[in-house]
Amino acid sequence: MTTYQEFIQQNEGRDGVRFSWNLWPSSRLEATRLVVPVSCLFTPLKERPDLPPVQYEPVLCSRANCKAVLNPLCQVDFRAKIWACNFCFQRNPFPPSYAGISEVNQPAELMPQFSTIEYIVQRGPTAPLIFLYVVDTCLEEEDLQALKESLQMSLSLLPPNALVGLITFGRMVQVHELSCEGIAKSYVFRGTKDLSSKQIQEMLGLTKPAASGQQGRPLAPQDAAASCRFLQPVQKVDMNLTDLLGELQSDPWPVPQGKRPLRSTGVALSVAVGLLEGTFPNTGARVMLFIGGPPTQGPGMVVGDELKTPIRSWHDIQKDNARHLKKATKYYEAMANRSAVNGHSIDIYACALDQTGLLEMKCLSNLTGGHIVMGDSFNTSLFKQTFQRVFSKDNNGDFRMAFGGVLEVKTTRELKVCGAIGPCVSLNSKGSCVSENEMGIGGTSQWKVCSINPSTTLGFYFEVVNQHNAPVPQGGRGAIQFVTQYQHSNTQRRIRVTTIARNWADAQSQIQHIESSFDQEAAAVLMARLGVFRAESEEGPDVLRWLDRQLIRLCQKFGQFNKDDPTSFRLSESLSLYPQFMFHLRRSPFLQVFNNSPDESSYYRHHFVRQDLTQSLIMIQPILYSYSFYGPPEPVLLDSSSILPDRILLMDTFFQLVIYHGETIAQWRKAGYQDMAEHEVFKLLLQAPLDDAQEILQTRFPMPRYIDTEHGGSQARFLLSKVNPSQTHNNLYAWGQETGAPILTDDVSLQVFMDHLKKLAVSSSA
């Protein structure tokens, strides 16, 4: 018997699924008592190089409201050529093409190892990918130049048949026509005027073909001529566009002293969305927005153009002092929804030292599956490489991105789906498996994920609806099927089906089993997502309290202790790390806004709710490696006690990569020992973390901020703010330890936290 650990990893590797519980309590009541809901992290497009897609279409259950896909869990009568749906128990005949089916000649989807299988849909037209650059020209010359180069470079990364378009904006919004020869032509919109999609299309001269276009179907070929003026195949306009980008001038309108440049981001996006809406609805497209500052005019403005009014801070927001916040948010939300409906995703690349309004605009990416990248300048490797990585390719030479995903969840009747948390929008598909109890984006069994990449991970939350008095038959299994339809980056339509099943367990009799099936990592991430999701709409302290209570309840449920005796408290191995995750989560920027601007918070949260489990965990609890002369690099506790003078530390918080040289190391380095032949070893030691960091940098998206610092350096704060403040200026002497570095903070340390937790968990009054 394999351990749960292995089981979990196997499942994750095959299906991209991590459940909080791998045994499901068989009744609603028991499930509720488990505190952590039955839920999972699902990575729909997990890379499966070993899984070749099949070239036919899935067989669906014929029941109208079921439509589940034939899967290995279905019972099949090979003689009658009939299969029974394991979700609705409908008996379906196989289609004629399955005539030759037999026990020895089974289609792939019936084989157990194909619990995840991918179909290629041959029907329907294929549409090329579309990349629409929306570029802010209110940039410093240097920034603009760097951005232009990046954009030009990106052209070479696009598939030749991909359509590209360019919109630039500043005070005005320009939609560049790419087809014309000679004179560069562009359509200009005023940056202050909110235009309806129809108006935009009229003004761009796109209305005539639209009349004949059918709703909901790609119009690509027939009206290509019209849309082509703005969206052209890369291979055709490569040169043209390169020149155009090369000649891009920064916004020609003078910026008076004491003013911000007028930036019409809102209208520019509106035009971009309108343009795609009119030309390529329901076709995979990315709107890539590059901004160097906040929107300062027109709809969606985040801050006025007076420099003397600073952009909103958390303080302003709490005081309800952010004038434009609500209006702008509403504006961008509406736009994000429109865009999502049409299957277009919006990326935001914001590079500025100050905030750029991500707080208001985050929904653009969050709802459409787009990326958000935040940097200080377009002239940094952070941006350049991140941007390059957007176009990274897999082993087959295909982009690691997919478009227009529709993810449907089907459950067996004991389960209902409460909601999803991730870069998706609800498609409002009510069905029998939809719970009334919403968690995350609920009330539906279908979600649209406009852009998916292999690491895109959604959290799904379920509810056991089986009543306590109607036990599940022994050996019964609950099943969940994820059906993901999407447009592959090679323009194929594909359907990936993942069907998973877990055993039911009676929580009363099998609580031990259930406890051991707990996946504390997944649970921590799933709970964290719930917390972050709540934090978007609730006050920070409330969320923390809620999280604390959940933790306490969990500890009460599974801890072993004597009442009112904190010292007797023990947690089993499967839960042992969970409180620690929660401790770090509480301190994380996802829930703490202190020291973060609203934009940063939005940025962190954005990434948190879409990364896979490993990355999410890193975000919650950064990894700390220690390099020393005394042995190979080793992971060490994220604790102030790990900060030693003769160590080099490498911390990965996902967003930052910090290399920290201890005091002694730093002195040596300053003294230049590494350049001396006799201190070759020291040189190697210095090099080691750099190499490791490089490795991480190579694979991470977005590129983390890379920080090389040393003891006492200002940048060391990144490290100091993350480690557990086991030593602070308050207890430095009390502890009397000789190692580690005190952290100047009033935050509680893990130790204190655990003590409190134990106390509360064992308290009879709780």
Binding site: M172, G182, I183, Y187, V188, F189, M203, G205, E247
Partner: protein, 1231 residues
């Protein structure tokens, strides 16, 4: 030079006038001296006239012929006198000389030189000069101090011509030939009488007289005239005749010799007539006192005239034996006409005396011819002194004049006026009455000689017997031989058809300002009674001929121009410095203002500032101030202006070839943007926009390799998409601009877009200028009715059924209010719009033109534009439009003396209040007509002053004020008013008034109003100024004798009386076009110039013929010009040789009537013809496309439309009919 001059000025003599001229100029510009000097001479003479005081002294001096010299001497005496021209100052002698020069007119310099010495003995010099002419001039000048210049010479001419016309005799009229003229003279006397007769009856009667005339003349002018004119008037006529005859005869004789001279000579002759009696001595004095020495001299010569007379006499007789003699009478008529002018002057000055003395003399004189008038004047002007007086009386008396006129005079104090008016006997009367006045001579001449013509006349009014514009024009030309100096108040300038040079001596040049009346009635009652409109046509930025200096730029430093504290009038010659120069009193409001310390200057003993002639603002009529920041918008010095070209690229525009032509041409035009210093690059920035349903802006920043197009489809809410890169400096962005202009036609070659917008196009330009914070001009090239969905969208509302109804006016009004609002915004920004239209159908010019018209822009229309045939015209218009000097963001304000007020303005501009005329753009071709009304009394002493100040931004971005000052006389006698009117200006006013009237009134009502007012004017004259005569006699004031014919032209214009084939657009177009025309343009527009081309001489143009089909000979070729159209009419039986010369083809049938330019042939005739055509085109602000019209071709219909003396197809009356109608109206008013 300057110094010398100054000193002279200072000199006690200091006759202000002389001083002015010389000093003023001298300081200003060394260059002047030469020209001035001569002028000075004249000026001095004139001056006397102007300022009473001055005059008297002068007169006395001048009277001595020598006086002139002295004057000049005083100023800058000695000088090189003559050379005066060169260095006027030195030659004091010159002054005199100069005088001569003036007179010389024909040969200024020569005369001057010679004169110089002679000055001493004026007589001598003069003779040498051009005896005949001079005399004429003399007379003329003599009569009217003011007039002198213009009239002076002209008078003679006029008189002659009038006489001629009166003569009936000379059919020749068409041919300017001397002989022809002669006859006219004779006719003159008759004229008045003839007219007098009732129209119809008169006609009948008239003929007979005519026939008889010839015979009669010889015997006794008077008698003849009487007969002709109808006995009724006879009495008056007779007198005239009698008086006239003698003079006229003489004249004729002289004239006979050289055609042109002949005319002039005539006058002289007249002088001679008088002179003899007066005695030579007297005569000279007369002349002297009067303006022109030269004239005077000639007169002297003429004085000798006695001798000359004889000489002449002989001459004439020979030429036109019998007939001529009769003409003699005409001269009398002339005198009559002229005299009036003279009398007028006289009135002003010595009012009392002159009248008395003069009356008699003047009367005679008038009739006689120029001579008398001069005398008349002389007397008035202090001249009265013995010398003058004598001459006056003598001259006049001698001739019958006294006899005839006396009566008239009695009636009027200035009996002259009536005469002048030359009451034209109607019909026949014309001959008599007009005779004098009307140039008709030629025409008449014809009839006269051949009795035959006369008979026809009986049946209907003989066209030759009525006042002829051609004659008047020619007379004026002959008269205006010397530069016109503006120093004399109330002096009417030569006609617009006359080439003359102007010397600014304190009043604005007539090229800048022309008035309807140079002698305004003192009271509102008089003004109301006369109904003569009091208006000035101001063309603030008019281009001056190369020999005249543009206004000087004066900088008063940081404080800005010195102004009156109360009325804010700018420093000008009318400001009177007092208290030793510490303060000045405003000539307009009389308020006393402190002189700022930096501007202080001591006064000389005459109360003038010592630096008077160093400062243009104290000595000139027109000059400019440099404005300070206080005069700028937002208190910021203006940015350099910008030109934005907005080109329609819809299907029609591309297909017609317009787009490619414009683009091609703009490439070269970029180098010719307006600039002030020809050696510098223009700082005007340019921008480009194309449009159809949407707008395309272009980024032509110099750093770009290729231009960029920015499409703005949001036409409902226009904005400008870029700033940097849109308006660029041509030199920096030349390559990009050229690339753009190359590509525009290609880009839209395949366009299918037919809809256009218009409102947003202007908004776009406006926004661009706003964004750039500068003023500028938009050039919009547009093809079609803007029906695309956008602000300012229009519907096709052309509905011919409305024409003639009460709703017709709505067709002239803009369809939507949008453009009015837009225009307002444009004006606020200083955004001037020039619109080039290329319509293939109705485009609603009435609406589209609102913005151009309100912003001081122009509308050009090329209906059915075709690249091949219309390209040249369009391109020339475009070139001129782009290159012409223009000011931006202008505000014009007219200040006047207390007593009158500028109440109404006509032209292309916008007014947001009642006083400020706001012009977003003001170019050199735009004129503004200002109407004045009394709000109090004016005084004869101070006259009426007006100051027109235009604040504008020059094309070099400098903020300036251009000031034009004008002073006119005031009169308490209606006769003076009538004697100092300018019909061309009145017509300009009437047309603008009427064309604006159609916006609010039915055209019929507008026409009736015009006729009515005109009738009242003439009736008032008849009632108050003319000598008593039969009610049936039509008597017209000399100055207004062409009023009926011109007015008829206005009434028949397409705007007021459209033919069936005239589109609404055309009417609206013309209506707008007229609104900003100056007098020259309206004149030729309403009365086209028709030149016979059978014989061409280099150096001079053939004398025009009247615009009537009867004047066209089948065997001839004619050139007709209206300022907008140019026709070459080819008679059906024209000589082969002529065809070969012109077209290079021997056959009439082979002439290609679609040609728009004549073949370049290597023969003198062809060369000359093309030269003429080119010179015509150069004179007009719009290029005229040449249309070749073959007789009896279909195109002839169009051509005939411009023969304005004929009945028009649309129902317009012929000249003759209209005159009868007018007479009827007048009689009704009188009864």
């Amino acid at each position: 030079m300057n110094v010398n001059q100054h000193t002279p000025m200072a000199s006690p003599y200091g006759q202000p006038q002389p001083g002015y001229t010389q000093p003023g100029y001298a300081p200003l510009d060394g260059g002047y001296p030469a020209p001035y000097a001569p002028y000075n001479g004249p000026a001095s003479p004139y001056q006397p006239g102007a300022p009473p005081q001055g005059y008297s002294p002068f007169t006395s001096f001048p009277s001595k012929a020598v006086a002139a010299n002295p004057v000049s001497d005083l100023s800058s005496p000695l000088d090189l006198g003559i050379s005066g021209p060169a260095r006027g100052p030195p030659t004091t002698g010159p002054p005199p000389i100069s005088a001569p020069q003036q007179y010389n007119q024909y040969s200024h310099s020569q005369g001057d030189m010679q004169n110089g010495p002679p000055p001493m003995t004026q007589a001598q010099p003069r003779p040498p000069v051009s005896q005949p002419y001079n005399p004429g001039a003399m007379n003329m000048s003599g009569p009217h101090p003011t007039y002198p210049q213009h009239y002076g010479p002209p008078p003679t001419m006029q008189q002659v011509s009038n006489q001629m016309s009166g003569m009936q005799i000379t059919s020749g009229p068409p041919t300017p030939a001397g002989p022809g003229y002669a006859p006219p003279h004779s006719s003159q006397p008759p004229v008045s009488t003839a007219y007098s007769a009732a129209p119809p009856p008169s006609y009948t009667q008239a003929p007979p007289p005519v026939s008889s005339a010839p015979t009669q003349p010889p015997p006794s002018g008077p008698a003849a005239s009487q007969q002709y004119y109808g006995s009724p008037p006879p009495p008056s006529q007779q007198p005239f005749n009698s008086s006239l005859p003698p003079t006229s005869q003489q004249q004729f004789t002289s004239s006979s010799v050289p055609p042109p001279p002949s005319q002039q000579t005539l006058p002289p002759s007249s002088y001679s007539g008088p002179a003899p009696p007066a005695g030579q001595p007297p005569a000279p004095p007369v002349s002297q006192p009067q303006q022109s020495f030269p004239p005077s001299q000639p007169p002297f010569s003429s004085a000798p005239p006695p001798t000359s007379q004889p000489a002449f006499a002989p001459g004439p007789p020979p030429t036109a034996p019998g007939s001529f003699p009769p003409r003699a009478p005409p001269p009398s008529s002339q005198p009559g006409s002229y005299p009036p002018p003279t009398s007028a002057p006289s009135c002003q000055y010595p009012g009392p005396l002159p009248p008395q003395q003069q009356p008699p003399p003047s009367q005679p004189f008038p009739y006689h011819s120029g001579p008398p008038p001069p005398r008349a004047q002389m007397p008035p002007t202090s001249m009265a002194q013995s010398n003058h007086l004598p001459p006056g009386p003598q001259g006049p008396p001698g001739p019958p004049g006294p006899l005839q006129q006396p009566p008239s005079q009695p009636g009027m104090q200035t009996g002259y006026p009536p005469q002048q008016n030359g009451a034209f006997g109607q019909v026949r009367g014309p001959q008599p009455g007009y005779a004098g006045p009307y140039p008709g001579q030629p025409n008449y001449g014809a009839p006269a000689p051949a009795p035959a013509p006369a008979p026809p006349a009986q049946k209907r009014l003989d066209p030759d017997a009525i006042p002829s514009p051609i004659q008047v024009i020619e007379d004026d030309k002959a008269k205006s031989t010397e530069p016109f100096t503006t120093g004399v108040r109330g002096q009417a300038p030569p006609l617009v058809t006359t080439n003359f040079q102007v010397k600014d001596q304190g009043n604005a040049s007539p090229r800048f300002v022309r008035c309807t009346a140079y002698n305004m009635p003192c009271t509102a009652d008089m003004a109301k009674q006369s109904q003569v409109p009091l208006a000035a046509v101001v063309k603030p930025l008019a281009t001056l001929p190369p020999d005249e200096t543009p206004p000087y730029l004066v900088d008063h430093g940081e404080g800005g121009p010195i102004r009156c504290n109360r009325c804010k009038a700018y420093m000008c010659p009318y400001m009177q410095f007092i208290e030793g120069g510490r303060r000045f009193q405003c000539g307009f409001c009389s308020c006393v203002t402190e002189v700022p310390p930096h501007y202080f200057q001591h006064l000389d003993h005459t109360g003038k500032r010592v630096d008077c002639y160093d400062r243009p603002e104290l000595s000139l009529g027109s000059y400019e101030f440099l404005a300070t920041v206080d005069y700028c918008k937002n208190n910021k010095l203006p940015q350099p202006p910008a030109f934005i070209f907005l080109i329609d690229v819809s299907y029609n525009a591309v297909k017609s070839g317009m787009v490619s032509i414009v683009c091609q041409e703009l490439k070269t035009l970029m180098d010719y943007l307006p600039r002030e210093n020809p050696e510098m690059d223009s700082i005007v920035r340019v921008g480009f926009v194309t449009y159809n349903k949407v707008l395309h802006f272009y980024n032509v920043k110099s750093s770009l390799a290729q231009p960029q197009m920015l499409v703005v489809s949001d036409v409902s809410d226009m904005f400008v998409p870029l700033l940097d890169g849109f308006l660029v400096n041509v030199n920096e962005s030349r390559l990009v601009i050229e690339s753009l202009l190359d590509q525009i036609p290609e880009m839209f070659a395949d366009t299918r877009e037919t809809e256009t917008v218009f409102g947003p196009v202007i908004q776009a330009g406006l926004e661009a200028l706003k964004a750039a914070d500068c003023a500028g001009k938009l050039f919009v090239f547009h093809t079609s009715l803007p029906i695309a969905e956008a602000p300012g969208k229009l519907k096709n509302r052309e509905d011919k059924k409305l024409i003639g109804t009460d709703k017709e006016k709505s067709l002239f009004q803009p369809q939507v209010g949008f453009y009015n609002t837009l225009a307002k915004e444009c004006v606020a920004q200083g955004c001037c719009v020039d619109l080039f239209l290329f319509p293939n159908q109705y485009v609603d010019v009435a609406t589209l033109g609102v913005v151009p018209v309100s912003t001081g822009g122009s509308v050009y229309k090329y209906t059915y534009f075709q690249a091949q045939s219309d390209q040249e015209r369009f391109l020339n218009d475009l070139r001129r439009d782009v290159q012409k000097p223009v000011g931006f963001d202008a505000v014009m304000r007219v200040r006047t003396s207390t007593g009158i007020r500028a109440t109404d303005f006509f032209g292309s501009f916008f007014m947001s209040n009642t006083t400020d005329v706001e012009l977003a753009g003001l170019d050199c071709d735009k004129a503004i007509t200002v109407e004045f009304k009394h709000d109090d009394k004016l005084s004869e002493e101070t006259g009426a002053l007006m100051q027109c100040a235009v604040l504008y931004t020059s094309c070099s971005g400098q903020r300036r004020l251009r000031i034009h000052n004008m002073a006119v006389n005031c009169c308490s006698q209606l006769a003076d008013l009538y004697r100092n009117c300018e019909t061309d200006t009145i017509i300009n006013f009437f047309s603008k008034y009427a064309f604006r009237g159609v916006l609010n009134n039915p055209t019929k009502a507008v026409r009736d109003t015009l006729v009515n007012q005109c009738a009242q004017i003439l009736a008032c004259y008849r009632k108050n100024c003319a000598s008593p005569s039969s009610a049936g006699q039509l008597i017209l004031p000399e100055c207004m004798k062409l009023l009926p014919v011109y007015l008829n032209c206005v009434l028949k214009s397409d705007v007021l009386l459209p033919g069936a084939d005239v589109s609404l657009d055309d009417r609206a177009y013309l209506r707008q076009l007229i609104s900003c025309m100056d007098v020259t343009e309206t004149h030729v527009f309403f009365y086209p110039r028709l030149l016979p081309l059978m014989k061409l001489e280099s150096g001079s143009l053939p004398v025009a013929v009247r615009d009537s089909e009867e004047r066209l000979s089948k065997g001839g070729v004619y050139l007709l010009e209206t300022g907008l159209h140019l026709f070459l009419w080819v008679g059906a039986s024209v000589q082969q040789e002529l065809l070969l010369n012109i077209f290079g083809t021997p056959s009439f049938g082979q002439i290609d009537s679609s040609m728009t330019s004549l073949p370049v042939l290597d023969n003198p005739f062809s060369q000359r013809l093309r030269e003429i055509i080119d010179s015509f085109r150069a004179q007009r602000s719009r290029y005229m496309k040449l249309m070749v019209v073959k007789q009896e071709d279909r195109a002839e219909l169009i051509f005939r439309h411009f023969l304005v003396e004929d009945k028009s197809v649309s129902g317009g009356a012929s000249y003759v009919d209209f005159l009868c109608h007018m007479h009827k109206e007048i009689r009704q008013l009188l009864s």
